[in-house]
Amino acid sequence: MPKQKKEKNMDLWESLPAAFCQTDEFFTIVKTSRFLRLLLHFPENKKEKLLLKDIFYSEEDFNKVKKLLEKKRTVGIKSFLITGDKQKIPVSVFSQPLKKEGEKGYVFYFLDISEKQKIKEELQRKIKDLQTFTEELKKSRTALLNILEDIEEARSLAEAERDKTVAIIENFPEGLAFFDSKNNLVSLNPRACCIISVSPDNLLNKPYKDIKNIVPFNIVKDVFSRKQPKFFKDEIKIDEETILEISAIPVKSAEEKVGTLVVLRDITREKIVEKLKTEFVSIAAHQLRTPLSAIKWSLKMVLDGDLGAISLEQRNFLEKTYQNNERMIRLINDLLNVTRIEEGRFLYDVKECDIIKLIEDVVVLEKTAAEQKKVKIIFKKPKIKLIKARVDREKIFLVFQNLIENAVRYSLPGGKVEVALVKTKKRPEIEVIVKDRGIGIPDKEKNRVFSKFFRGSNAVKTETEGTGLGLYIAKNIVNAHKGKIWFESKKNKGSVFYVTLPVK
């Protein structure tokens, strides 16, 4: 080669910023570019002959290249070179046989792909991260979808339940009004609106205090007070034709007050039926009195001698008949009283009454019968001169009359009946006590004493004339006055009956 051309070639080998080399046919490196030497950290004055395989990191790769080249194929692979200080450099290896006259060998071009590789690795790492992240997201998504499904299901169930509840409330045959824990009216079903003739729009979401003047909400105000709310029930007539039963119940959920439920029942029809029944009994009773009066009068007239003299035997016989007739008359009176009590919880004529005078009147009335039996009635008057209470006088009269009558009736001859009246200090009420030392009430029978037609077994033996209705009537009257009646008794020792009545 001419020296100039050789110098030009030398320049390229020295100045091209590319890593290439030339080998002979036995893969011994005969020439290297300066760039390759720099790349492989060769010391400048390395004089030993280098084998191509020495710069290949992987002998396998070298063999691969060798085989391809010997088959006269071109090479373009990725591999690694190894530097003088044992570093691994990723490269792209391009090679082909030398195309020169007279020389056999191969040319190799190594492209440093370490940057590329780094980027590639970085990318792969990032892709992997992304994949992991995507996987995580997918898992989260699945989990969320599951949760959503569960929620949907729960929501459906809740809705179905709610629809059921709403359907029940909407169709409930009684009126329902529900107040929440803050006493706002949150629900008013159609039946309630119908019963009290209001449009729900005017009342819904209003607090109780705004509607407490609307009948019938006015009577349940105690349930909304801050005191411990209790179950409340009462009857109220809201116009000429309608009677309502109104109940108010505080609603709790695990000891927390959740609200108040007010139930409105139209009991007009029930009341009418009750009234008709009572009227029927009333009329029947009065009809029965007519023949009883006839028997009474005619027997009395015979006993009085108006139809001529009668023998002693006849007299005794007729006396008994007369007494039996009297018994029937009393029974009818009791039946009439019972139906009157059941006729209504409304007391007929409630007024302020002097209770001391009331009891005195009863005692006076019962004194004659008591004296006949040689029983004394003692009324222990209270220290206070005047004790008043709001009562239906005629009915309360019946109560005390019944208690004193019983006490006398079931006392032994020569016995004593004590009546006392006390005004209790602790509560605003009065207490009436009727005490006797008579035949008493057997323990087994104590729980039936206030039932209709009940008479103690020992009472029946002593006095055949009782009807068994007196205490039943008395209890109903006392209850209607919101009072209490009870007793203590011991067979053959006597009984004490107590009645308390409120004095508001």
Binding site: T290, K296, W297
Partner: protein, 128 residues
């Protein structure tokens, strides 16, 4: 002296006759009526000193008789004792409001007791 005239307005025959018999024995003059219309007629005709009036009557009832009686100035002074087997407080109060002088439940009083009541009312009447 003219006998005291008592009018009985009572629809039950037996009771009417019983009480009539008793009162006659006591020395009174007794007239009977079996219903309200007849009763009012006899009141106008007889002008009795006292009337025993039942409440449940065929046709017009005792309350109506009492009302009409008291509306007639020439008759309203006659004392009326209600003799009935009704005994509800409303009935008693209504009768007294309409002007009856007393209310006796037949089943609760003997004929003697009824005669006593009649005598009491007449006595009070004579005194005033």
């Amino acid at each position: 002296m003219e006998k005291t005239k008592i009018l009985i307005i009572e629809d039950d025959k037996f009771l009417r006759e019983l009480i009539s018999h008793k009162i006659t024995k006591e020395g009174f003059m007794v007239e009977e009526a079996a219903d309200g219309e007849e009763g009012l007629e006899k009141i106008k005709k007889l002008k009795p000193n006292l009337i025993l009036l039942d409440l449940i009557l065929p046709g017009i009832d005792g309350f109506e008789v009492l009302k009409r009686l008291k509306e007639d100035i020439s008759l309203s002074f006659i004392p009326v004792i209600i003799l009935s087997n009704l005994g509800q407080r409303e009935d008693i109060e209504k009768s007294l409001r309409l002007g009856a002088v007393d209310f006796l439940v037949k089943a609760h009083f003997t004929p003697d007791e009824i005669v006593s009541k009649i005598k009491n009312v007449l006595e009070k009447q004579n005194r005033s």
